[in-house]
């Protein structure tokens, strides 16, 4: 089809569409609305997938988390109880290592601290998650130390959270180190976890660890973590246990049993008390995964409905115009030019629809940015959506257009 024949065909198409004004407007509107919704839905999916695929910094397979709290134990008694527990866990078959921490990546719930380089400043440089844990944390989590050293066992202190003072030695994540000392090394430098508090020296930098909260309120500090070598005695703590390969299922039963054998005066919650890291991740991102699935399903059904709508409407038009098609065929139009006619007609309608739809998509996104935590829709998504709907339109119109092209010239002689 040359450019000339295209322009020659546009005139009669526009004339025909003017005769079907309402139908044309409706299908244009449907394409426009579909584009607006699908663009934004796909964009929501993309944002959620980005969120879900952030690395936790944890070697996720083979890690078990057990929430534990003591019953009626005084703060002074707890350190000994912790030591006994950890010893009992570590000597179980199938256990490679174990640690105690007040929180861990994606746990949901933990401690936020402000980080300062100058202890006197009012406003901290950034917020960060603080994990109060011990010298086994890095090995158990599977976090990789980039620089410096791990905690020594003699550096691990105990305290209740109300008498908590910053520890002299801390380990930070690479992201936090880069935020505090861009381009330089943070090793050996002092940071302050409390305004006008005592300094903490950075003794090590780990490659990556995520904060406990998956939500967007932590986006500004999602990889900023400070590890402090301190075991908190008055709070619900978590035993993190690293399984030997293939032993995770076995130890998720044997560890809680061993803990209750050691001491019955404890509570491990029925719900979310014992979780593999896979469960932790699934629960943390449940809504993100769910909403992405929902948006995907809506988009798919929407595209099918719109495609089917185009097929239906075009079929009617073809049925209505059999006689005219027959006349054109009798006057020498080839099958191909009839096919092209309908493809072009659909293209014009779809083009109108996607142009209006692109505006609607941007408008909807603007509105959603105000109403929800939504980022600005990237033009790439609008372009992709436009292309998708143009292709969908051409695909949908193909079958009715083929049927039209097969209308015999004899139709011209029939009265309907």
């Amino acid at each position: 089809m040359t450019w000339q024949t295209v322009t020659l065909q546009i005139e009669p198409i526009l004339a025909a569409l003017r005769k079907h004004k309402a139908g044309t407007i409706l299908i244009t509107l449907q394409i426009a609305l579909t584009l607006a919704v699908v663009c934004n839905a796909l964009f929501i999916i993309k944002q959620r997938v980005d969120r879900i695929s952030r690395p936790s910094g944890v070697e996720e397979s083979g890690l078990l988390a057990i929430e534990n709290s003591w019953v009626g134990a005084s703060n002074d008694a707890v350190p000994a109880l912790i030591r006994t527990d950890l010893a009992a866990i570590r000597q179980l078959p199938g256990v490679r290592d174990a640690t105690l921490s007040d929180s861990f990546p994606l746990r949901v719930g933990g401690r936020v601290t402000g980080v300062r380089l100058d202890p006197a400043t009012d406003k901290a440089i950034t917020r960060a998650a603080q994990y109060s844990t011990d010298d086994h944390a890095l090995a158990t989590l599977g976090a990789r130390l980039l620089e410096g050293r791990n905690f020594r066992s003699d550096e691990v202190a105990t305290a209740d959270s109300k008498t908590f003072v910053p520890t002299p030695a801390v380990i930070v994540t690479k992201a936090l180190a880069d935020r505090l000392y861009p381009g330089g090394s943070i090793l050996g430098k002092s940071i302050y976890l409390i305004k006008n508090g005592t300094p903490s020296t950075v003794i090590g930098v780990v490659e990556q660890l995520q904060v406990p909260w998956p939500g967007s309120w932590t986006d500004a500090f999602s990889d900023y973590v400070v590890l402090t070598p301190i075991q908190l005695t008055d709070e619900r703590n978590v035993y993190l246990v690293r399984a030997q390969p293939g032993q995770l299922e076995a130890i998720s039963k044997s560890v809680p049993q061993a803990l209750f054998r050691t001491n019955r005066m404890r509570v491990i919650p029925d719900r979310r008390g014992v979780r593999t890291f896979a469960e932790v991740r699934a629960q943390a991102y449940k809504t993100d995964i769910g909403i992405a699935t929902f948006m995907g399903a809506v988009s798919a059904v929407l595209l099918i409905v719109t495609a089917a709508g185009i097929v239906g409407l075009t079929s009617f038009w073809v049925g209505q115009r059999r006689k005219q098609i027959g006349v054109r065929r009798a006057l020498g139009a080839t099958q191909q030019s009839i096919l092209h006619y309908f493809l072009l007609e659909n293209f014009l309608i779809s083009a109108g629809g996607v142009i209006v739809g692109a505006l609607l998509a941007v408008g909807l996104n603007q509105w959603m940015m105000g109403a929800f935590e939504m980022k600005r829709l990237s033009p790439l998504y609008v372009l992709l959506g436009m292309l998708l709907l143009l292709l969908l339109g051409q695909g949908a119109v193909l079958a009715p257009a083929m049927r039209a092209s097969r209308v015999s010239p004899v139709e011209a002689t029939r009265t309907s």
């Binding site: 309402a22 139908g23 409706l26 509107l29 449907q30 609305l33 579909t34 607006a36 919704v37 934004n40 839905a41 709290s69 019953v71 009626g72 009012d122 406003k123 959270s161 109300k162 008498t163 003072v165 409390i194 305004k195 006008n196 508090g197 008055d234 709070e235 619900r236 209750f260 019955r264 005066m265 404890r266 509570v267 919650p269 029925d270 449940k286 809504t287 769910g290 909403i291 699935t293 929902f294 948006m295 809506v298 059904v301 409905v305 719109t306 089917a308 709508g309 239906g312 409407l313 009617f316 038009w317 049925g319 209505q320 909807l364 959603m368 109403a371 929800f372 935590e373 009265t415 309907s416």
Partner: protein
Amino acid sequence: MFAYYARLGLRSLRRNPALTLLMIIAMGFGVSASITSYAVFRATSNNPIPQKSAQLFAPQIDNWGPARAAENGGDPPDALSYADATALMLAHKAPRQTALFPIAPSLVPSDPNRLPFRPLSYAAYADTFAMFDIPFEYGGGWTAADDQAHAAVAVIGRDTNQRLFGGANSVGRTINLDGRDYRITGVMDTWNPQPLFFDPVNTSGFSDAVQLFVPFTRAIDLQMPTAGDTACNQDTGSGWEDFLRSECVWIAFWAELPSASEADAYRQFLQGYAAEQQRAGRFHWAPNVRLSDVTRWLADRHVVPPESRMSMLVSLGFLLICLVNTIGLLLAKSLRRSGEIGLRRALGASRNDIYKQFLIEAGTIGAAGGLLGLLLTGAGMLGVGLVFDPNIARLVRLDAVLIALTLLVAIVATLLAAFYPTWRAAQVQPAWQLKSN
């Protein structure tokens, strides 16, 4: 006549089965997505205490200064410090009031073979029970004298009473919390307002039923830490006493103010209190206080998940598109049937008859779409658990209202969609159509 139109309608629908099916399926999906999203929205935006939501108020006092408040759009912290909470309790400016915070004591069953457990628990004042209209199965709340005496008393929930005492009247008996005995003054009947209006800050609004209350004064004596959030703006010092003196916020406060004038007076009182703190040199800024009733408090804490609004919005867009789709298809269909309409008009059918015939046809599609929508909504209810927290998902149920709404929306939407195509059909001139075209 109706039966005749219905028959005509069905015949017409059967003539284009694929198209009819398309309209039904589109309508079914559109309606079910909208209704399912609405069901989640309805559950999460529920008013948990309708009879009192306009009389219960939560105050906020800015004890951190404008710099921190600016990070929250000028809003003071969403909890109170111990100093402010106890000052408001002491002032006693409302007919009823309570400071409260979540605690996490372990309940130790007297049977040594049974393991301790931790029910959802709060430390609160005696007014709580009357303020929140908490129903009792046995006994009642403790008294203001118990608050004064820092007494070891407790109110337990129905489930806990079942678990510990087999559901018997346990008033006067003792329970063991973390090794200490408490005398039971009352057993709550089933009571589980959702969203948990008095503590959305620590529960994000949705939780299990509260199973234990103990006096606030007792919990402070025993240095029970909050099981919820503690937010501090500076070093808290060392130890419990320092913590109580600190500006850390961790306590919720509720006042019952039955009339608008009492609410205004309380607002004045808060303003005066903050001004007094400024004069005393504790606050270095002008008073910044808030007083929100239950509805406003829940809205400002964003109890309805953004995903709920988002899915409702997208679902409504989806329904709108299905509607446009149906208008287009019905229009095409009615225009194709111009000949038939012309013939019927020529044989004496009035415009009204055409209207009736087409609307009944559309209504049939709507009803079928509604039934399919109902099935899909049923499936959608199961899907809610895949998207939202279990505490939200179990609140979302398909009830008579939703069933009626599903059918109604489907039928009304289809009738609306049919309106223009029907009008066009009714405009058909019989003479025109009867001429051979």
